[in-house]
Symmetry: C2
Subunit: 226 residues, 2 copies
């Protein structure tokens, strides 16, 4: 009648020694799914299945989907590389930090969408925000302008990443959009028509446009400060 030692082993089935649940494990699994399947892969039920349990088990470690999303976003930002404080001018470091953020979002299609609709107060998001604020501070920007400016810079980088990732995910979203633009009556929408022509003819890549936007925002901030 005593419990046999084999019993435990049998109950673990053919899995690689199932780890006990934890918030870290849940969040890491969620990010993996998000990277593999895009935003459609991020669901309580799919995470639970990947961890070989039921969805209700997750609620011990996570209050709801929104809270989980903010944790996943923060983990997705773990890959951001922040330049050392002596790695060039504050402008250069600001640009490099934002480029690294962009890369981190490119890496995981769904994360960009998450970043657009979720705020994280996790360690990686905070460190990134602190870094950008510090750069602007070094540039002599007041702390109120810096706060608003960092918001604007991050929003811009996030949306560039989202646009790119939604192009990849939904196939030819941008293609369809451009086709619709091309089909418009140039009499009715003359400015759209000519802008569209320029967008087509211009041989500009994504990075050039990204740099343009950051420049615009930065120059605008400095102008208002000076």
């Amino acid at each position: 009648m005593t419990t046999q030692p084999t019993r435990t082993i049998v109950s673990r089935r053919a899995r690689p020694a199932k780890d006990p649940l934890s918030r870290e494990l849940i969040v890491a699994t969620a990010l993996e799914l998000l990277q593999k399947e895009g935003s459609a892969g991020l669901s309580m039920r799919k995470i639970a299945k990947a961890l070989d349990t039921g969805p209700s088990s997750l609620y011990v470690y996570v209050a709801n989907m929104q809270e989980l999303s903010s944790y996943v976003l923060d983990l997705g930002l773990a890959g951001i590389a922040l330049p050392a404080s002596d790695a060039g001018s504050w402008q250069t470091r600001l640009f490099d930090a934002l480029s690294s953020y962009l890369l981190a979002l490119y890496d995981a299609p769904g994360v960009a969408e998450l970043a657009l609709t979720t705020v994280s107060v996790g360690p990686h998001a905070l460190a990134f925000t602190e870094y950008l604020l510090q750069c602007l501070h070094e540039g002599g920007v007041s702390s109120l302008s810096a706060a608003w400016g960092v918001d604007l810079l991050m929003l811009y980088a996030t949306s560039v990443a989202f646009e790119q990732s939604s192009r990849d995910a939904r196939g030819t979203t941008i293609q369809t959009h451009l086709a619709a633009m091309a089909a418009l009556d140039p009499q009715q929408y003359p400015r759209i028509a000519s802008s569209h022509a320029d967008l087509i003819s211009g041989s500009v890549d994504g990075m050039e446009r990204f740099r343009w936007g950051l420049d615009v925002i930065l120059q605008g901030i400095m102008k208002k400060e000076g």
Copy 2:
């Protein structure tokens, strides 16, 4: 055995002479639901129920949820008021048009979220884009810069509206966020701490911040053009 004239009347139940389905009716009903219940109200099944039919009936007029969303977004932008071309300088008109856009998004909480993740090529979205491009054109901005600039301006206005509407919808999202910021260690995040202090102390309303962002973008564009 002949069909009785009353039969038709009975089948219409206590409804006000049920309109035949059409894309316009579907989209209008969808927008109503979105305005009443927020983004949670926008679902095929809820729209169908509101129209007293089954969800499959909608697919005759609309390919899928994404297409429907883009139509709903465009209808949501119908309320934008574009200033007459003699209503002040191009900067003033640009600002007024964007303010009107902001108001239209405030009006319907869910529409802002839609605008953040959906592109519309409907008449209202096109007219708005054309108007903004025209303003920048009058300001002497090149058509490539104008195209990118309009994107940036609209993105900014949309995100301001989204931030506001998510505050309303999810109750105290921003409150929670600010509380988390206040609880941070000022040693570890000195710039976040001082920015946060300024954000609290400064008596700035939403409109002031909105204007600041538009100014930054516009000044930045002009600087790069000049």
